[in-house]
């Protein structure tokens, strides 16, 4: 088995969920997601398109700030990434703050495009490295974007998975619940249970999150590192080098 870092594990886990897609978009301040998308593109043999916001060479948008949102509404974006200061067991995400709105105890930057993209992009992957009862809560204090909607609400998109620093959950839209799929090295089913504030289901065969195969690692530490360096030079230099 190839040796890989924790970051490389996460990049690989994301890339695996992007296989076969035509177009993956990556928001700002998302080096791991960006590297994963570029890895998936490298593995697709030219069939996948990746848009990295903040990149010059991997961002083809020419119609201004609205184009990402219009493009998603046209059904031309298959996957996107969101996070959240709080994420709850129904897939609701909170990027606004803790406490009773509007006089919050803790204020975060704001919802960005989440209240829209979460509805329109079919495969939204939630990524939040900190896995704790502080971040994974029973009920978010503020719903920047809801995880699910009533049947009559126009919603081709929604949560597909939640990846943290400890584990990978898939989201079941019918049950409106997360299901624990795999646990990363150095964590355990018990560790995940102790650090998750919401209830979730368990896959029958929870195993270790598989690491990136050697071929992926070679791409990650070569071509993908060079590509992501344009947008995230420090990340490329520190996180994507052979150990």
């Amino acid at each position: 088995m190839a040796e890989f870092s924790h970051t490389e594990l996460l990049v690989g886990a994301v890339a695996r969920m992007l296989e076969g897609l035509r177009h993956v978009a990556v928001g700002a301040s998302s080096p791991i997601q960006g590297a994963a998308a570029l890895l998936a593109r490298a593995l697709s043999g030219g069939r996948m398109r990746v848009s990295v916001l903040g990149s010059r060479t991997n961002n083809f948008f020419t119609d201004g700030g609205r184009e990402l949102f219009d493009c998603a509404a046209q059904g031309r974006i298959d996957a996107f990434f969101l996070g959240g200061g709080q994420i709850d067991g129904q897939g609701n995400i909170n990027l606004v703050g803790i406490g009773p709105y509007p006089k919050l105890d803790v204020r975060w930057p704001g919802s960005f495009g989440s209240a829209y993209l979460y509805f329109l992009v079919p495969r939204v992957i939630l990524f939040r490295e900190e896995h704790s009862v502080r971040t994974l809560v029973p009920k978010v204090d503020f719903i920047s974007a809801p995880g699910t909607s009533a049947a009559n609400i126009y919603r081709p998109g929604g949560p597909y998975a939640l990846l943290t620093g400890k584990a990978l959950f898939l989201f079941d839209r019918a049950l409106r619940r997360f299901r624990l799929e795999s646990v990363h090295p150095f964590s355990s089913v018990e560790d995940v249970a102790a650090n998750t504030g919401f209830e979730y289901d368990r896959a029958p065969d929870i195993g270790p999150t598989p690491g990136p195969p050697a071929e992926w690692l070679a791409l990650l530490r070569g071509r993908v590192r060079d590509e992501i360096a344009e947008t995230y030079p420090q990340f490329a230099a520190t996180a994507l080098s052979a150990p």
């Binding site: 509007p102 704001g110 919802s111 960005f112 829209y116 993209l117 329109l120």
Partner: protein
Amino acid sequence: MDAPFLSLEDLVAEIPDGIMLAVPPDYSGVAMAATRALIRRGVKNLHLLAVPTSGIQAELLIGAGAVSTLEAAAVTMGELGPAPRFTALVKSGAFALKDSTCPAIHAALQAAEKGLPFMPLRGLIGSDILAFRPDWRVAENPFGDNDPVVLLPALRPDIALFHAPLADRAGNVWIGRRRELMVMAHAARRTLVTVEEIHDDDLLADERMASGTIPSLYIGAVAEAPRGAWPIGLEGRYEADGEHLALYVRAARTEDGFRRYLAEHVLVERRAA
């Protein structure tokens, strides 16, 4: 009728207190030199509209007490973390905050661009963003069947203010791919622009430049301001000054630190590094 060229001080004198001022995101061309001049002139009571997010520009205006209402999808210092004055003052209620989402701000500006009273938008239903926006409506899609959709009233800024690489002598402004600046200029009653440099040729005469140019019809006035986005970067021209931005974030953790930053870097006019 071409757009007049003004000094930076005369340009910001055209921005009255109490207006709705639209400003672009950090990746787009932020008129920071003009923002410092605006704070020096003591602007008050702004309804600041971030299109759709803002960073140090909103920070300085908020911290200086110039903002009474802020509408934004986010205020952030990016990789440097939370925006300290925004975070501190929003909790104190020093200004009213209209939490929004990026496409809602784009859509409401496009409504103004088209002279429409409102624009529909997908998404949003079930979010607390919508729950706390009594100015937005949910209506039935008349072409659907039990299909609610959000309607956003037009946002027509009094003034749009941004920084661009080039203006020609007629006041046409080149923005390249940064089309959100064009929507802002179309939507706002008046648009004030600072530019890196004046371009001697007619931007509309060269088809390659014309496609990325806002015609002077939409431009109220232009001021030349080399490195006018500093300490933010300008795509294709210069990078953000990360060291200065980090210095700001450290200083602005406290009210006192912010006051010192303001005194040293804003209230005293100084050339950008």
